[in-house]
Every structure is written in C-alpha cells, then in structure tokens.
Amino acid sequence: MSMEVLLQQIVNGLVVGSVYALVALGYTMVYGILQLINFAHGDIVMIGALTALFTASALLGAGVPPILALVISIFVAMLVCAVIGVATERLAYRPLRNAPRLAPLITAIGVSILLQQIAILVFGRNYFSFPELISKTPIALGVVTITLNEIIIFFASIALMAGLLWLVHRTKIGTAMRATAENQKVAGLMGIDINRVIAFTFAIGSALGAIAGVMVASNYGQAHYFMGFMLGLKAFTAAVMGGIGNLWGAMIGGLILGLVENVGLIFVRGDYKDIFAFVVLVLVLIFRPQGLIGERVAERA
C-alpha cells in the first residue's frame, strides 16, 4: 500500500481515536473511583449527540449563526448529560455501593437499555442527519485530506484531556477525587464528602461524553439511538487496553485503538475492522494483563 493510504489512515485513526479516548475517560474515571464499569456511559454519549443535534437544528432554524449554535448546543448537551450522569449515580448506583460488584454492573447494563428506550421515546427511532456546523470542505495537506471539522475534533480532544489531567492533579476537587479512589473510608475520615466527589466524577465524565457525542455525530454526519452501544464498547476496549482506572491509559488506549482500526484496514477488508480491534485487545490482555500503562493505584482517579 502506498504512503498516501498509510498517512491518510493515520489521520483517520487519530481523529477517531481521540474521540474514543474522550469516551474512554468516562469509563476509566468511574472505574478508578468505584471499581464500577458504567456500561451506560456509551448511551450517555448518544444522548449528548442527539440532544446537541436537535438543539443545533432548532437554533439553525431560528437563524442563529452556526458557530454560536454549536457552542450553545454543546453546552446544552453537557448540561443534560451531566444531570443524567449524576441522576443515574444517585438513583441506580449509590444504593448498590456496598452490594456485590456484579449487582451494579448488571444495573449499568439495565440503565444502558433504559437510556436507549428513553431516547426512542424522546427522539424517535430514525437516523438523524447532523448539521454541518464546522466546515467539512476537504483540505489537501500534501497527500492527506482533512477537514476543519476533523482538525478541531482532534485538538479539542487533546485540550479537554489536558484540562482533565490538570483538574485531577492540580485542583482541590481533583485531590479529593484521587483520595477517594485511593480509599473511600479513609478519605471520608479526612473530611472529604465522598458522595459529592463521586457525583462530581459522574458529572465531569458525562459532560466529556456529551462533547464526544457531538464530535462523533458531526464526524460521521449522523446520529441515532443505537450509536452508543458500539462506541461505548470501543471506548471501554480502549480503557482496558490502556489499563482501566488510569487516565493516561484511556487516552493512549483510545488513540492506539483508532490507529489500529484504520491502519489495520491496509491489511484486511472493512468487515474485519472490529475483529482486528478486539484481537488487539485480547493480545494486549494476554501479554500485559494490567493494560499497556497499567493501573497505577496511587494515581487512579
């Protein structure tokens, strides 16, 4: 295969991978604190995408300029998702915090199905076209073609991840999050309001998920109620590949998964794309069961 294809697939992979990474952060943050795999996270991403899609369409219809419509719709989606994230934690997971670990896991799958059904009721079963808020006119950079939309997705993801690292490592609430991840009971004794920290974690993770949802929908040009399932699974794969519970792991896992999927297409046909991605996951788990980076207990958050 030619250089042109390789470079283009690397670009495709980095764009998709940065979105996977952003979604993976939602899984890994919750896992770090609660040791819970929040399978509803993919569907929160879906709710974010559909909320933003409908908000943006309504705003565009009212004559609002695209950039303003984008900003407002992302804000609305983040708010809606943060509320749903906190509400699921409060209503579904908190009552089970001391239950065996399988109970909240099954609950998470239930919440996932519940969110899909709610999305059907609110938005409908159709596929919806995502308005082109940022230009998707192809720009030729040497042999590689990219759109402004893709450039913004990639750099916004990187900026958001950097922001999250700053939040976790440099702020008071971040310190509280890390302390809670380390040992909930002791953190509680130190005067940290555990419930508030956990709710905050869900809010941040879900808001990031909302942004990721907008990115996915605008990148693919469409959204529908089932989109969260596969995306969630991929992001979860990315989190496990990098070492679940570890923020750096989620980011690197996401980028690697995106790259593997797209560069892998040079060797296999498109129908093997997902198989390729999951085979890589299995290989990583066989040879490095703790993930590529591993869960550094002291830093998980």
Binding site: I37, K273, G291
Partner: protein, 421 residues
C-alpha cells in the same frame, strides 16, 4: 490486578451478549387497529381470510403500513364487487400482521396466519423475513406473494407457492452494473456491501454485470455491519484506487453518511446504490452530498405505471396519505390472489397455486405473469438520480413492453416525486 482484568473481560462478554440480545429484541406484534372486525357472515356468504404481513412497527413501519393499505384497498374493492365462487358469495377479510422486519418474528407470525386458516399471504416486505416465512407457508401449502422482497433466494428454493411482484436482485444488480459502465461511463468501479443478505447479493450481481459489460472492479470492500458509521478507513482505500464509480449494496441509513464522508475525503467518484437507498430519507441524511447520486428500484416509476396515477389518487382519497413505495404492488398482489381464486373456482390453496402460476392480467403496475420460479415476467428496474434535492427518473431498464418502448424514447428525464416521507 489480573483479577481486575478477568473481571473486565467477563464484563465485556456480558455486555456483548446483552447488546446482541437487545439487537434481536423487537416490539411485540401489534394488531393492526384498522383491521376489519370479523363480521358475522350472512348465510349466503363465505368469509375468506387473506393475510398481509409486513413491518408495522420499527424503523420501516411507514413502508409496512403502506403495503398493508394497498392490500386493504384491493380487498374492499373485491368485497364491493360481490365475487361469487362455487355458488357462494365471498366476503374477503384482511388478517393484518406485523413482522417488525425481524426474521424471528416473521416465522412466528407466519405460523399464526397459517393457524388462522388464510387462503393466501401477501408479504412479507423484506427479503430477510420473506425467505424464512416462505418455508412455513410452503409446509402449510398456501400461496405467498411478496410485493417487494428482491433477494433471488426467495424463489430459488423451489417452493411451488411462492411468487413475487418485482424484479429480483439479479435483475437489479445487473441493471446497476450495466448502468455504472454504460450509463455513467465508469471504467473503474469500486463495490462496497454492508454484509447483509441483501447488500452482499446486490453487490455480487453488480460485480458480475460490471465485468460482463467490460468494466473493471478495482476494489471490493465491505463494512463491518449494517450499523457501522465510520466509513473513512474503507473510503481511503477506495480513493487510492481512483475509481470512476462507487457502488454500495446497502440501505439509506449508511448510504447517507457515506456520501458525506466521501465528500469530506475529497472523493469525486459517482455513486450508485440499489432500492435500499432510493428513498427521500437518503436525501435528508446526505444533504448536499446526495446531489448527483444514483439509485435503482425494482419496478416502474409511478408515472410509467399503466394505471399509476389513478391508483395514487384513489389511495390518497381513501387513506389520506401518499403512497410510499410498494402499495401498488401489494394492491396488485392481492388482486392476483383474488383473481386466482375466481379462476380456480375454489378456496382450496392447492387449486389456487396453479391458478396464480398461469395468471395473466393487467395490474396497476403493469401486465402481470409469473415465470416457472414464481418471479414476475419482465420485471422492470428504474434508475433514479438526485437532482435539485429530488429523485428523478433517469432510465427504465427492461419491464413490460408498452412502458419499455416508451421509456428510452423520452429524451428528458421524467420528474419523479419523492417516494418516501
């Protein structure tokens, strides 16, 4: 550590299985609200049940309801005529059922209508539901006429009672392949399918026809599944082959974003797809990127159907909604079944089936006769193109004689109204 990861793996397994289970889960069949209540038969009358099965719930519910209304209209007209068979006046009753476009539900519903002692079945809408259901109807010995299932396998099973009203995917794929090379001037063709029975079948037939027409298939690609949304990787490979035409065997929900992603990658190749993508929905999903895209359908466009306009008006007056796509075909299919009952002068399915086989009549969609396998004779395929945000007829390939003679002569493309909401 390793415990954690075992747990994570187990969690993936749980999630996958639950997700798959969720995929298969569909709504319970709904009784069609408008189905006529079984009226107590008058002494001189015999009630004859005809089943219609299509997806009345789910993503293509609007198409299923459209088909059902076509059958309902035919039955009401037949009842108004007062058909007498074997000395008894017949009162037809529509048994309307929902298969949700789901193969599993289709077989359950098929058994249900067999148990309801129907004389014949109009349906199903999809190939994926018609094929498994046909085995049940065949065992029960009752005729099945599908208005719209295009997969060749349906009539290739050798079941004597299976018929279809439209050209199959061999005809459609051949038409796409020929048109891609001759009509669109493509020398290098790229073909993608969506891994479904319909998509792969259509893509295979297109590939054969492209080669036969002297074109070159430069790459054959496939998507991960019919829900995949990210086509950039596959399209990047295709772009490197620099094709003139990209053919996609699949549905509008993927063709729409595919057109958008082609545009974002700067791909200039022309695009053609089959009847799964020939919908107003495609134009909504692809937006500007749909402009210039081609797609075919099995059957004639409305303005080329011999009695198309009259039927469309009658349908609109009756149901206060426009025809979506295949209602004229279910209307004709129902009339074929009723005519066969009259011809056989019997209500026994064993006598009705040979009568359908030898039928020759004029329907609203054109002259109707079946070949030995049960496929419609001279099924037409129409090529459409998106122009100014609307599907317009470009060319009619094959089809019954009068329409075929009229079609290629028309120099300007005929205006075709949106077919689906």
């Amino acid at each position: 550590m390793s415990r954690t990861n075992k747990f994570a793996l187990a969690a993936v397994a749980v999630a996958v299985s639950v997700g798959l289970a969720a995929c298969g889960k569909k709504e319970e069949p709904k009784q069609a609200d408008a189905a006529p209540a079984p009226a107590p038969a008058a002494p001189a009358e015999v009630t004859v049940k005809i089943a219609h099965v299509g997806p009345i719930s789910g993503q293509i519910a609007h198409l299923g309801k459209d088909n059902e209304n076509g059958a309902r209209l035919a039955i009401e007209e037949a009842n108004a005529k007062g058909i007498v068979v074997d000395g008894k006046k017949l009162k037809f009753e529509l048994v309307a059922e929902d298969d949700a476009a789901d193969p599993k539900q289709a077989t359950a519903v098929a058994q249900k209508v067999v148990d309801a002692k129907v004389v014949g079945v109009i349906g199903h809408l999809n190939s994926g539901t018609s094929i498994p259901a046909s085995a049940i109807y065949n065992t029960a010995g009752i005729p099945q006429i599908s208005p719209s299932a295009t997969n060749p396998k349906l009539t290739a099973q050798g079941f004597p009672g299976v018929f279809r009203m439209v050209a199959n995917d061999i005809a459609q794929g051949t038409a796409i392949g020929n048109f891609a090379v001759k009509g669109m001037g493509g020398k290098k063709i790229a073909i993608i399918d969506d891994k479904t029975a319909y998509g792969v079948g259509l893509a295979d037939e297109t590939e054969k026809a492209v080669k036969a027409a002297g074109g070159e298939v430069v790459i054959r690609e496939a998507l991960a599944n019919e829900k995949e949304q990210d086509f950039k990787g596959v399209l990047t490979k295709i772009r490197a082959k620099n094709p003139d035409v990209i053919m996609f065997g699949g549905m509008d929900a993927q063709a729409g974003p595919m057109l958008k992603q082609m545009k974002a990658l700067g791909i200039k190749a022309k695009f053609i797809s089959g009847d799964g993508a020939q919908s107003a929905e495609l134009i909504k999903l692809a937006g500007d990127a749909a402009e210039g895209a081609y797609a075919t359908t099995a059957g004639l466009p409305k303005d080329k159907m011999p009695q198309g306009a009259a039927f469309y008006d009658k349908f609109k007056a009756k149901f206060n909604t426009d025809v979506q796509v295949y209602a004229p075909f279910t209307y004709d299919a129902t009339n074929v079944l009723i005519a066969a009952i009259q011809k056989a002068n019997s209500l026994e399915p064993a006598k009705i089936i040979p009568a359908i086989k030898s039928i020759s009549m004029d329907g609203v969609t054109g002259p109707i006769a079946f070949d030995d396998k049960g496929d419609i004779k001279d099924g037409a395929v129409t090529v459409f193109q998106v122009k100014g945000g609307k599907w317009e007829t470009v060319e009619i390939i094959g089809g019954p004689m009068p329409a075929a003679a009229a079609a290629p002569a028309a120099p300007a493309p005929e205006k075709q109204e949106e077919k689906k909401q």
